[in-house]
Amino acid sequence: MGANDRVPPDLLSGTVDLLILKSLAGGQRHGYAIAQYIRASSGDVLELGESSLYTALQRLLLNGWVSDEWGASENNRRARYYRLTSAGRKHLAAQTREFDLVVTAIQRVLRTV
């Protein structure tokens, strides 16, 4: 799969936030790890730019859905780790349901002959 196939995931508004929240559901990660996780788990389709990733993270902080903490990375550098708050967990669940609904609906429309 070439670089041209990688798309920024802002097709649907709010998707970036949802993906980031989902990537944190398994535990805390730093920004780079979040980007890697999303790329890997989307089969290298979704690629987050710095700008959209960190803007989204600041937005999540502002809304109180994630909290941040500085810690040491795998290679012993200072890195900022993000973790879901309980409000974030609730938001993730609600957004996932809504997203499913929308996607199913869109697919239904697209498949209608």
Partner: protein
């Protein structure tokens, strides 16, 4: 929560931005590392990463704007720039802050106090259901009648009340207090709650009558916030009373205007024993309509009961078939009475609002003038900005930001000042013993008001320089055109000053007229001379004194006082006018075929009363000692009485008598004098017919009036000592008449003070603004001065030139202003009492003051300019 996090971000903005930068570097390093691992050559790594990652700076800005939206940041940038500009012109900033601060500060404080004092409803659960009513011919009825009407009429709730002066005896001194004696069920009927203890009710009073409720202010100021006040004993007029409750803070008595008695005691308790005589009219009535009850129904039930009482006691209760009801205003009794106080207060309040707005306009005109002057001076800067691509919209935003910033600073200062001013006003010790609390609400209303002021001011002061800026031409503006333009060429600057002077003239004339008119209205002549009269209030109600001793005491006291040097005359009266006490009752006048009943203000006086009070005798004579023996009976009436009842004929020799009491018809009394009118209950009232009776030879509590050649506080102390020498058991209080009347005089005095303050602020603002503007523009001419001096002009000729220019402009401005004012003020005539709309004095004083200000403002900078050497002056720009 989001707002809170935003604020936290702003507080730690520096750290948060560093953290983000560090995070981005970390991210990039990891990305590059990954590319290297993928086997890209080193020069390709960075390019690939950049491609993948995007612009880091943009990322940082985008992240920053999450917390801090770009629109807000733009405004803050404008404000920051505006602040930099303004902080360089300190004088402008100072005048602006002063003008806005003073006008909003004063205005807001005034609104606060007016709101706190006047516009608060009385503390009653259903003020709309209250009704004042008279039974029979007077405003008061006796205790037995009160009991029969209010306690024994089905479906009628009513209470009686009266204000009593009480002496509160402490260890070594007596303090005179106002107490309100009320029916025992007063508090339960009106729904008044207490914060500590309990209220008295009909049941508790039956068991323990001598109980008292104190107001919060009394508890705070005179009982020292005693935590064990409930159960404490107060000795009132010789009788021990138990405090059973404290009324809440902010309690408003039925009087309104923030005036409240110090304490409430049950009518019929020891200090105010119930008399069983039906003729002794003592209590005023206040009724409460039941839910769904109409006024007509209430009146008919009271009338039925009163008619029954008239049949049972035909002599004492003559005229009881007549029941009059009067509306109760929720702002209190003072505003409910039929006199003109209400109208005066409404008019006064609305005029104050007009004045406050005028002040705000003056302040705005000041600042706008300075900003326009500054914009003119900045033509070059503005032209350069325009020519290097600053959009007109952006320019407009910048200039509006200056207005907004000035408005925020000025109004903010004003807001702070107003809170302080209002506290100061409230803390002024009042000249009378009536507790008087004004709460200064620092609430959302206040902030809303201030915000509205900011918006309004910013718009008014921002738009003028804006219009000016839009006229700047890039080509001409970048040259040196605005330099060295004299006044005489009717430059923009000269026009600006002329307009400002004209506007100042109009505003100042209006302000002065308003202030003069209201001042005049607040200086109502009471009809007697307060300056030289001292009153002696002796409390002879103590149970230790026999009736004979009381009589002897007054005779001895008056004798002693008559022999004091500096005392001109001594007299006495039951009612001291304008002191909240009143006796209103009916009188029968012999008009030929049948008696005619009139409602009159009454007073009982000793000989020499009119001489002491300085009330002129129009005809006839004062009472003499022999008149006190009751035969033949005599009376004195005021001019209103004589005019209304004996129009065209002499009142002397006519006959009047009181309605019968105690079963015997009263004998006729002959009118022996007519005296000038004087005020009785309030200064705003319409004068009523008044009758004076000779104080009988019997016993009675009265206020002794002493006329002195010159009043003086040391003198009062001397009298006090003399009277204590007469009988040490009688508590005595000696005060100037003016302080006894303080309650009645207070509104007028407060009004006068407020008006004087407003007028002063208005003048100060106008003068300061005009001075600032003229001085500023003359300063801009310093280079021109340099050129003139360099070309050989003598200092005196330059000074003459500058002053002549200043004078010409001032005269043109003032003339224009006077013309506009004389066209406009007739429209104000309905608000102007006692002052002609084109009052020559006001007009000329304003004109002279403004011309002098303009000259003085030209002189100062001109002198400075001349002291500079020509080279310095030329370099000044």
């Amino acid at each position: 929560m989001r707002l809170f996090r935003r604020l936290k971000y702003l507080l730690h903005r520096g750290r948060r931005e560093r953290e983000l930068a560090e995070e981005l570097v970390f991210h990039r390093d990891l990305a590059e590392q990954e590319q290297r691992h993928a086997g890209l050559p080193p020069e390709e790594v960075r390019r690939a990463t950049n491609l993948q990652m995007g612009n880091t700076t943009l990322a940082r800005e985008a992240a920053h704007h999450v917390w801090f939206p770009a629109a807000i940041e733009g405004v803050l940038q404008d404000l920051h720039y505006a602040w930099r500009g303004l902080s360089r012109s300190k004088a402008l900033l100072a005048v602006a802050c002063l003008s806005l601060g003073l006008s909003t500060g004063f205005g807001t404080a005034l609104f606060n106090v007016v709101n706190g004092v006047i516009l608060q409803p009385v503390t009653v659960t259903r003020p709309d259901a209250l009704v004042r009513f008279w039974v029979g011919n007077g405003n008061r009825i006796s205790w037995p009648n009160l009991h029969d009407i209010c306690d024994q009429t089905p479906s009628v709730s009513c209470v009686g009340h009266r204000v009593d002066e009480l002496m509160w005896q402490q260890r070594d001194e007596s303090i005179r207090l106002f107490g309100q004696a009320v029916s025992p069920h007063y508090f339960t009927m009106l729904g008044i709650q207490v914060t500590q203890g309990r209220v008295f009710t009909s049941e508790t009073v039956r068991e323990t009558p001598d109980t008292v409720l104190v107001t919060h202010a009394f508890w705070e100021r005179q009982l020292g916030r005693d935590p064990h006040v409930i159960g404490r004993t107060l000795v009132l007029t010789g009788h021990p009373y138990t405090v059973i409750g404290v009324l809440p803070r902010g309690f408003r008595s039925i009087w309104g205007l923030g005036i409240a008695p110090s304490l409430y005691l049950p009518a019929g308790s020891a200090a105010r024993p119930a008399t069983t005589r039906r003729g002794d009219a003592e209590y005023e009535l206040l009724g409460l309509l039941g839910p769904g009850q109409s006024l007509a129904e209430f009146r008919s039930r009271v009338t039925a009961r009163a008619t029954g009482l008239q049949e049972a006691y035909p002599v004492e209760n003559r005229g009881f078939g007549r029941v009059q009801t009067f509306p109760f205003h929720s702002l209190g009794l003072f505003l409910s009475s039929e006199d003109q106080v209400m109208r005066v207060i409404v008019l006064f309040a609305s005029l104050i609002v007009v004045l406050v707005l005028l002040l705000a306009v003056i302040a705005c005109v000041n600042i706008a003038g300075l900003l326009v002057a500054r914009a003119v001076a900045r033509q070059r800067e503005i032209a350069i900005r325009l020519s290097i691509g600053c959009g007109r919209l952006r320019l407009a935003r910048l200039l509006l930001a200056e207005g907004l910033l000035l408005a925020i600073i000025g109004v903010g200062l004003g807001g702070v000042a107003s809170i302080w001013l209002a506290r100061l006003l409230v803390a002024v010790p009042l000249p009378f013993p009536v507790p008087f609390e004004v709460e200064v609400p620092v609430d959302l209303h206040l902030f809303g008001y201030l915000a509205a002021m900011v918006a309004l001011t910013a718009m008014v002061i921002g738009v003028a320089p804006l219009l000016q800026a839009f006229r700047v031409s890039v080509v001409r503006g970048t040259g040196s055109a605005p330099r060295a333009v004299g006044f005489r060429r009717w430059s923009l600057r000269g026009t600006l000053i002329t307009v400002q002077i004209a506007m100042s003239t109009v505003l100042l004339v209006a302000t002065t007229l308003f202030v003069r008119s209201l001042w005049g209205a607040s200086q109502i002549d009471p009809g007697f001379d307060m300056a030289h009269v001292v009153t002696v209030e002796a409390d002879t109600r103590s149970p230790q004194l026999t009736a004979a001793e009381v009589g002897a005491y007054y005779r001895a006291a008056i004798d002693r006082l008559n022999n004091v040097p500096n005392v001109v005359a001594v007299s006495g009266a039951i009612v001291v006018p304008l002191s909240m006490g009143s006796i209103v009752n009916s009188l029968l006048v012999d008009v030929g075929s049948k008696d005619r009943a009139v409602t009159v203000n009454s007073n009982w006086i000793l000989p020499d009363y009119f001489r002491v009070m300085g009330i002129p005798l129009r005809s006839g004579r004062e009472f003499s000692e022999t008149d006190r023996e009751d035969r033949p009976r005599v009376a004195i009436v005021n001019e209103t009485f004589a005019r209304r009842l004996f129009a065209g004929q002499s009142a002397l020799g006519q006959r009047v008598r009181r309605p019968a009491s105690d079963g015997n018809p009263e004998p006729w009394a002959e009118i022996v004098a007519v005296v000038a009118d004087s005020h009785y209950l309030t200064l705003g009232e319409e004068i009523r017919p008044q009758v004076y009776w000779p104080f009988g030879s019997g016993v009675g509590n009265m206020t002794v009036h002493v006329r002195t050649e010159s009043g003086g506080s040391g003198f009062a102390q001397g009298l006090q000592d003399i009277l204590t020498g007469v009988d040490s058991r009688v508590p005595v209080r000696v005060r100037p008449l003016s302080s006894v009347m303080a309650v009645a005089l207070f509104p007028a005095q407060a009004a006068a003070m407020v008006l004087a303050g407003l007028g002063l602020v208005g003048w100060a603002l106008t003068i300061a603004g005009l001075y600032g503007l003229v001085a500023y523009t003359v300063t801009r001419r310093i280079p021109e001065i340099g050129v003139r001096v360099a070309l050989g002009a003598t200092p005196s000729s330059v000074m003459r030139l500058l002053l002549r220019d200043g004078l010409a402009i001032a005269i043109v401005g003032v003339a224009a202003g006077l013309i506009v004012a004389s066209l406009a003020t007739p429209f104000l005539s309905m608000f102007l009492a006692g002052v002609a709309p084109r009052d020559v004095t006001s007009f000329s004083v304003v004109a002279a003051a403004l011309i002098l200000t303009a000259l003085a403002a030209s002189y100062g900078p001109a002198r400075r300019g001349m002291r500079l050497s020509p080279t310095d002056a030329l370099r000044a720009e």
